[in-house]
């Protein structure tokens, strides 16, 4: 398996704040990655570092085997769609789609036209006068139609309604299936994209706290639900990721259970349910916060 990105001990300091703190990870070719984390966790900074838009304080970044900073050979294979992308003041949407193909070798004009229609983008309206959702849609169309070997979407759908977001997920998945490429999607709408992702990177306070295959991550925890006393008896000394209690009922999230344990839980009259990716990450993020505080 080829690695498209190799990051080693990467740190980016803004004054005394480490926006990215000794991150080490790799991104392999032709997979969809989720870069998840809370606002201000360091997602955008990390993407800016990977695309050569920002400069590392220390550590190394290799994208397609080379440093991305001021490297045209690397950068022309990257499409980076930002939530708050600025456009030249006098640009209309049509100017974006006219200029994009000069910079993206794989640009597909037919695909772009199809997406423009589906997102109902007004080509002749000045971007300054467009709604937030329409501006986001421009970015989404560029990101998809550029078909760059490495595509970054940084919270690409601010202001997009649910229908448009679903359209984005559908088109991304369809096009990805036909023309595999590496996609890194940063978002905090975790559950919406959960089924899209093949690999999950979670960043919190600048640190990569989860770097796991999405499938194994989904199965890594179980919620045990039942009467509080039964639940507590079953959980015993297991590590508790999260606990909710209402009246005499409790729901406790613990690590994956094996078959015997599942049967024991059923016998004890407890219900087991899957934990969504979002809940899992929220719980893991809280855990890490506690760890950082006590450290």
């Amino acid at each position: 398996m080829t690695n498209v990105i190799e990051v080693s001990d990467l740190t980016k300091n803004f004054g005394s704040l480490a926006a990215v703190n000794s991150a080490t990870f790799t991104v392999s070719e032709n997979k969809i990655y989720g870069l998840l984390g809370r606002n201000g966790a360091g997602k955008t900074t990390l993407m800016q570092l990977l695309t050569g838009q920002d400069f590392a304080s220390s550590g190394t970044i290799r994208v397609f085997g080379e440093s991305p900073v001021e490297n045209a050979h690397v950068l022309e294979r990257i499409s980076f769609i930002k939530e708050s992308q600025r456009y030249p003041d006098d640009f209309r949407a049509k100017h974006v789609f006219r200029t994009a193909p000069w910079f993206f070798a794989n640009w597909d004009a037919d695909f772009a036209s199809q997406l423009i229609e589906e997102f109902r983008l007004p080509l002749d309206r000045r971007i300054k006068k467009m709604s937030r959702g329409q501006v986001s849609a421009i970015g989404v169309v560029v990101g998809l139609a550029s078909r760059a070997p490495l595509t970054f979407f940084d919270e690409p759908y601010l202001g997009l309604d649910a229908v448009a977001r679903q359209l984005f997920y559908d088109r991304l998945l369809e096009d990805y299936a036909q023309r595999p490429r590496t996609v890194i999607l940063s978002t905090h709408l975790i559950d919406e994209v959960a089924n899209l992702l093949e690999h999950v990177l979670v960043i919190d306070q600048g640190r990569i706290i989860i770097d796991e295959d999405a499938e194994s991550l989904r199965g890594s925890a179980t919620a045990v639900v039942g009467t509080a006393s039964a639940v507590d008896a079953f959980v015993g000394t297991r590590e508790v990721l999260h606990r909710d209690a209402i009246g005499g009922l409790a729901s406790v999230t613990i690590a994956r259970l094996d078959r015997a344990e599942r049967e024991a839980a059923a016998t004890a009259g407890l219900e087991l349910s899957a934990v969504s990716l979002q809940q899992l990450i929220i719980r893991r993020t809280n855990t890490s916060e506690k760890e950082f505080q006590s450290a």
Partner: protein, 254 residues
Amino acid sequence: MSTVLPAPFTPATPVGRIINVVRLHLANPWTTIFMPWIVLFAVFLANLAIWWIIYTAAGGATDPEVTEGLQYSGATSWIFVYMIVVAAQAMSVTFPFALGFGVTRRDFYLGSAVTFVLLSAMYSIGMTVLSVVEDATNGWGIGGRMFSAVYFGDSWPQRLFIYFAIFLFFFFVGAAIASIWVRWRATGLTVFFIALGALAVAGVALVTFTANWASVGGFFLRAGFIGSFAWSLVLTALAAVTGFVLLRRATPRN
């Protein structure tokens, strides 16, 4: 104009990448080309009306004294300031946009510089041609002067050179100042203008206390009219290098 389907892909040779940046700057020619010419034409019409009033009031003759006074016309000065704004927008807004398209800072700056030179050439050639017409028609038939104002020299080669030098100066100084903003935002600009002000005061003080105003005057006298403008190219080159150095390490922020 409403074609969605874009031009065919241009292979990204090193030169091709720079040309693509030039095309990006000119993708919407409204702000950079159409608008200035339209405003210039409007200003010209307004001036024409005034010259005509004077011409009529003088009884339908060109008064040499009026023509003499009109040679100090500043009717075109706004267009140079406008180009500061064009350059500043290129640096502050087109820069983050181009980087999103995978352009390197180096290619962006070189492409921008080529764009500035092309625009300077277009405007200086256009305005020189107009100055020649102005001369040939004895001030559009009514003794008006706008493109042949005295500061632009008195022959067309001089005017071409002076116009070109002024445009280049404003483009690159605008770009350099905008680069300070892109790099350090408002703080950078504040520090820069305070430093510039302090430097100017210090310069004046130095020349005054050493009683050297005569040699400063002598410098411009020796350089001559054209030579003084030629010296502006040194400042322009300095601004161009400064802009490049600053932008090379700049990060697009929101």
